[in-house]
Symmetry: C2
Amino acid sequence: MSPSRRTAAKEPPSKPAPARSAPLKSSSLRSSSLRGAAPIFAALGDETRLRLVAVLCAGSALSIAQLTSGTEITRQAVTKHLHVLAQAGLVRHVKVGRERRWEFEPSQVEEARRSLDLIARQWDSALGRLKLAVER
Amino acid sequence: MSPSRRTAAKEPPSKPAPARSAPLKSSSLRSSSLRGAAPIFAALGDETRLRLVAVLCAGSALSIAQLTSGTEITRQAVTKHLHVLAQAGLVRHVKVGRERRWEFEPSQVEEARRSLDLIARQWDSALGRLKLAVER
DNA sequence: AATAAATGCAATTCTCCGGTTGCATTTAGC
DNA sequence: GCTAAATGCAACCGGAGAATTGCATTTATT
């Protein structure tokens, strides 16, 4: 039960796909990269988390207490945000004594960067084709 | 009433800022760019919306009906996602007769790209300083 | 003018998320 | 060993967000 909230029915109960021009299949973007980039963007899409990333990518690995001091939110809130970032692969933690130092992990940011580059290139290429078609 | 949910109290009711080392102020990132990038990332942080952007950045301006055909979700869901993207400045719409064509708007993607570049550069510079400090 | 297509608008539902509070647990320092 | 710091864990709460359903509205088309 509970149809997973993202697997839903189409518009009217019966409508055999208008298929007007439907340029939505195989656009060379959803196939290559961009798959799996949404979680990274979602993790970066919060003000507090973006600040945490900004602080951590400055180099030093910091404890939760250090990261909490300077913000207005609770230590547990910071902890949760760090876990979200870790889930997305943007940060990592190392135990050092009784504290846990969190450090930046650059690989997923690179992944997100590639995705945006792909979108930008796709757009530029579309512009180029348009310009070419107009000139003829 | 309702303390705005982001203006909250610190950890214990009274704790005059431990100020252990606190390297969180003025990290040269939160000041320059990266301010206001979170909403863009949040808009891109949804699978469906990212697909919409991927489709639209291929060039052609498409109607809601066109964008809906090919997905599993309802037309109204697509409409809402488009509005979210428009709110973030990632897409735009033009009325053309009785339909409304949605087209990609590249400026905010560039903004997001600059933010990620900033993070990556900050990280590289931190690595460089570390390497230098180790070599001495 | 009538019809059907394309969309807009409003209400509703349900889950997830950001945040807090309270207490338990590990661990450094004396 | 005892104390206090740093963290972990679990429950809870309010609101935002993703999606649906139903109906109204605009606008080509015939």
